[in-house]
């Protein structure tokens, strides 16, 4: 099975992927504007889909393909890292002695003379 990067190594698939990044499309719409037969487009879409780069929705009798999954996955990974880093730093901050509280300060109040 091809992963996302390998799937985009083919120029035709890269073109199809670029089209879908611009607008979600059905197989026929892609085949009409590319020098590739409809069955060939279907085959490329199948590979892109298997690689997780495009997803499809049924719209009546048509199937609309769009780029989403891969972007979503990358964004999820990024946000995963963001929130984990944020919470780790938050834990450090919240477990520090509260600077606005006087309970744990080391000041010794000297009694007047």
């Amino acid at each position: 099975m091809l992963d996302g990067w390998a799937a985009l190594g083919d120029p035709t698939r890269r073109t199809i992927f670029a089209r879908l990044a611009t607008a979600p499309s059905a197989v026929g719409e892609l085949a009409n504007t590319l020098p590739v037969s409809r069955p060939a487009v279907s085959q490329h879409l199948k590979i892109l889909k298997t690689a997780g780069l495009v997803i499809d929705d049924r719209a009546g009798s048509r199937r609309i393909y769009r780029v989403n999954q891969a972007g979503l996955r990358q964004m999820r990974d990024e946000l995963d890292t963001f929130w984990n880093d944020t919470l780790t730093a938050y834990k450090r901050a919240v477990e520090q002695p509260d600077p606005t509280s006087n309970e744990h300060t080391n000041h010794v109040h000297q009694l007047p003379g």
Partner: protein, 159 residues
């Protein structure tokens, strides 16, 4: 829908040694202190991050040159239990002013003991940003962010 994983949601959780009230206060008051600095949307270093503590307020990054970035809207502010804000940042780490293309972050605080609190983060509706991706005109060919990233990999493979 009986999906075990929600692909459009990111969850994170942590337990801290702090009372509920303090856990909430530090999270909202000092958010800028622990938010990773490398995700700065301003052109200059951040001087401060301000959380406006009322519904309809914003989370604002202020740069050292006085510039401002309002990257979130406060949707719920319920101390000490719950804090919800919108995530108006696009996948390209730019502020998106189209509210339909934003996601949402819910932070809940649960007291486990007098001095221990669990903080749960649910960052949901990430698919709303997805609508933004498919609308990116220059997408793969001249785009930035993740399409560029994918393209670079593709180039590596064909070079």
């Amino acid at each position: 829908m009986t999906q075990t994983t929600q692909p459009t949601t990111v969850n994170a959780t942590i337990e801290v040694n702090a009372p509920l009230q303090r856990a909430f206060e530090v999270f909202t008051r000092d958010f800028g202190a622990f938010k990773p600095p490398d995700h700065n949307l301003l052109a200059v270093p951040i001087a401060e991050t301000v959380v406006e503590t009322h519904v309809g307020g914003h989370i604002i990054d202020r740069g050292t040159d006085g510039s401002e970035c309002r990257w979130a809207r406060v949707l719920a502010y319920e101390p000490p239990d719950r804090f919800v804000f919108s995530w108006d940042i696009s996948p390209h780490w730019q502020v998106d002013t189209d509210e339909d293309k934003t996601s949402e972050v819910e932070v809940t605080f649960t007291a486990l003991a007098e001095d221990r609190t669990r903080v749960d983060i649910e960052h949901r509706h990430l698919d709303h940003h997805g609508d933004g991706w498919t609308g990116v005109r220059d997408g793969v060919s001249a785009g930035e962010g993740w399409p560029l990233y994918l393209n670079r990999y593709a180039e590596l493979l064909t070079s």
